[in-house]
């Protein structure tokens, strides 16, 4: 084979000059593996985008769907850290908090004295432009949240570099708790004349999303649809990044790291860089979703940043399947609907059988139960990723002689 000849099976890039049959070029492009991979995400997102059209503008279902979409973003972010790179992060709530406070600080009247009480306004229109405090356009806030959380993710990742296994889980958990404590008691901390956070009182109201070319959004009750579409756009972004990263050099490095750190490093994978990129990337999505939720829920409140939130998101990843992108999407949608719709609807069920409590009291016990049951009965999740399934079950079933071909990711 000469150097100039294109390999006949180069996927997705049909050679222009050496076309075998001219009329099949388009067909070839459409049936190329790269295109086929796109079909499912595009159809999924397209269908999802139509959902608000069949629902009432102020339907509570639309609100649940918007929250679910925001949680899909977080779960896919956590999936990068736990699912791809195998670093168990029990403090993911830290990134939610940092993202939410980014919009709390940069998109509310919290710093009311800023600029002598006149406020600082960057690319904002409408009502917010006339308010005191710092008001920055939502897209810029999103970028800021991304930067802040990426840095925070790497800082939190640093101390875990020398550690393995469960120690990583505990250190990340400790960081999550520290951030939560700072959020809660931040009203007693001040920088100059300003409080750091507003503790359990919460920073409220938060600026509504303000996109170029469209009117600033209004609060959910009036028209919830634009919020859903923005959340869906974030889902599209995170899905794209997840798929592209999984199949990239970096993604393969993460999987190698997850399977055997020593072997990976002796094959020349830079451990520090690879791990920090996993933390940074995963954190960035937690931050973006956090900024969105801050605006959507109209409050940035220390009560939101509890350890149980980290476990809520982790349950989504576990339920769907560690490392399995579609699995995590399904897990996140299922659990957020369970949390916001199913459990509240069945709230009185225990009293029907004569028990004296409400089902909502049990929600975190239910998630705990789910974690235990999943890990014992089906550790690979509902929609497993094949490679991960083999990893998780090989010791249990003596599957050392799994043929190499089966391990194709």
């Amino acid at each position: 084979m000469s150097a100039t000849e294109t390999p006949p099976d180069a996927p997705g890039t049909p050679p222009g000059q050496i076309s075998i049959k001219p009329q099949s070029a388009l067909v070839a492009r459409l049936t190329a593996p790269a295109t086929q991979k796109l079909i499912l995400p595009v159809v999924f997102l397209g269908l999802m985008a139509l959902v608000p059209l069949v629902l009432d503008q102020s339907s509570p279902l639309l609100r649940d769907a918007t929250l679910a979409a925001a949680y899909v973003v977080m779960a896919l972010g956590l999936n990068i850290i736990v699912g791809f790179a195998g670093l168990l992060d029990l403090g993911y709530v830290a990134f939610f908090a940092i993202g939410a406070y980014t919009i709390g600080w940069l998109g509310s009247g919290f710093f009311a004295e800023a600029n002598g009480g006149e406020g600082i306004h960057i690319a904002v229109t409408g009502f917010a432009a006339s308010l005191p405090g710092i008001h920055v356009n939502f897209l810029l806030v999103l970028v800021a949240a991304l930067i802040f959380t990426t840095i925070a993710g790497m800082i939190i990742g640093l101390p875990t570099l020398r550690l393995r296994g469960d120690y990583i889980a505990i250190v990340t958990l400790a960081f999550g708790e520290i951030i939560g404590d700072i959020a809660e008691n931040g009203d007693r901390l001040s920088i100059g004349d300003y409080k750091l956070t507003n503790g359990k009182q919460g920073i409220t109201p938060v600026d509504k999303i303000d996109l170029p070319l469209v009117e600033p959004f209004k609060l959910g009750a009036i028209d919830g649809r634009p919020w859903f579409w923005v959340a869906l756009a974030l889902v599209a972004l995170v899905l794209f990044v997840n798929f592209r990263l999984r199949d990239s050099r970096l993604g393969r490095a993460w999987i190698a790291l997850r399977e055997d750190e020593v072997a990976a490093s002796s094959m020349g994978i830079p451990l520090v860089k690879t791990k920090l990129l996993a933390y940074g990337t995963g954190a960035a999505f937690g931050g973006m979703s956090g900024a969105f939720l801050g605006s959507y829920l109209n409050t940035v409140n220390a009560d939101q940043f509890q350890f149980s939130f980290s476990i809520f998101i982790l349950s989504m990843v576990i339920l769907g399947g560690l490392g399995s992108i579609w699995g995590v999407v399904v897990g996140a949608i299922a659990l957020s609907f369970m949390n916001f719709r199913l459990i509240p609807e069945l709230r009185d069920a225990p009293s029907l059988v004569g028990l004296d409590f409400e089902l909502t009291d049990l929600s975190f016990g239910i998630f705990g139960f789910l974690l235990v049951i999943m890990m014992i009965m089906r550790p690979e999740g509902l929609l497993p990723e094949r490679r991960r399934q083999i990893e998780l079950t090989e010791n249990l079933e003596g599957g050392d002689d799994v043929p190499v071909q089966a391990v194709k990711a």
Binding site: P159, L163, F175, E177, I178, L362, V372, M375, P379, N395
Partner: protein, 353 residues
Amino acid sequence: MEAASVPVAPAVPFGEKARAFISTYGLIAILAALPVYYGVSDLVNDGNLTRLGNNLVAGLSNGAIWALIAIGYTLVYGIVELINFAHGEVFMIGSFVSASFFGTVGLTAATGVLGLVLGLALTLIVAMLGSGLLNVMIERVAYRPLRDAPKLAALITAVGMSFILQNVGLLWRGGSQEGITDLVQAQKELFSFGGVTVSNGDLLSVGVTIPLVLLMTAFITKSRLGKAMRATAQDPEAARLMGINVDTTISLTFLIGGMLAGAAGLIYALYQTTIWYFQGFTAGLIAFTAAVMGGIGNLRGAVLGGLIIGFIQQISDNRIGTEWTPALVFSFLVLIMVFKPSGLLGEQTREAG
């Protein structure tokens, strides 16, 4: 001649030296920072160390509770290399069992001394058995099926168990902090020495902890079953080949760890006189910090770590503010993990290496 006999010091680069110095003394320096700072400030402001002394006494009593819980972490980690995340909840259930049992045996603030001692001894046994058996059950249900699976799996079930037990606590005694009868008049002054007050609660805490720790140490070092535990911790496969029933030994380890947590639960309930379903989460993390500080897998280390953490916590509660104590303890946890994951007395482990 002379020059030849003098050993030439190997040229150690400064960076290496500094690193060695930090890894030897860094942790001690970090731990000493708060007591020394406030000790000096006491001397400057009050001219004596009474306030720090009071912190020390209260700190040691708290620390005794953390030490009892930390032993459970360390024992279990030593034998199955798993952080028993639900251990804090086992402690919480110990408190709840105690509080419920007070009513059963009819202990009230008016009970006489003899009745109180007997009743509390009975409660101690019940709480220890309850927590111990619960811990054994957790191992059977949640950890044993996953013993050969990746460690991530067992840790996740541990977190799950912890949530389930929290919910059990929530349903059992409600969601808010609950005051319970101050049976031993925990804050009442027992005696005072140079301005440093020792209260009933301090005596109870130390008086229950020391015999328990001694008993447990004797059991592990002297008895046949203790020997089996140590052998299993060293090498489960070899222990099995030597005829040790590894499953039973692991259950026994969980039983002992749970029993100590149950005792800690009773002391906590009597000492703090408030209990709630969430107490296990924070206590668990504090005790885990203590276990890591002492060197995980090391019993003496767990006790030492517990006492140090108790002291630091008391200083923080008293001087910085109760609301910052958890953040401070977690910062210590991170610092230890970064600079000396092997802890004060521990050896390098595979995890921390």
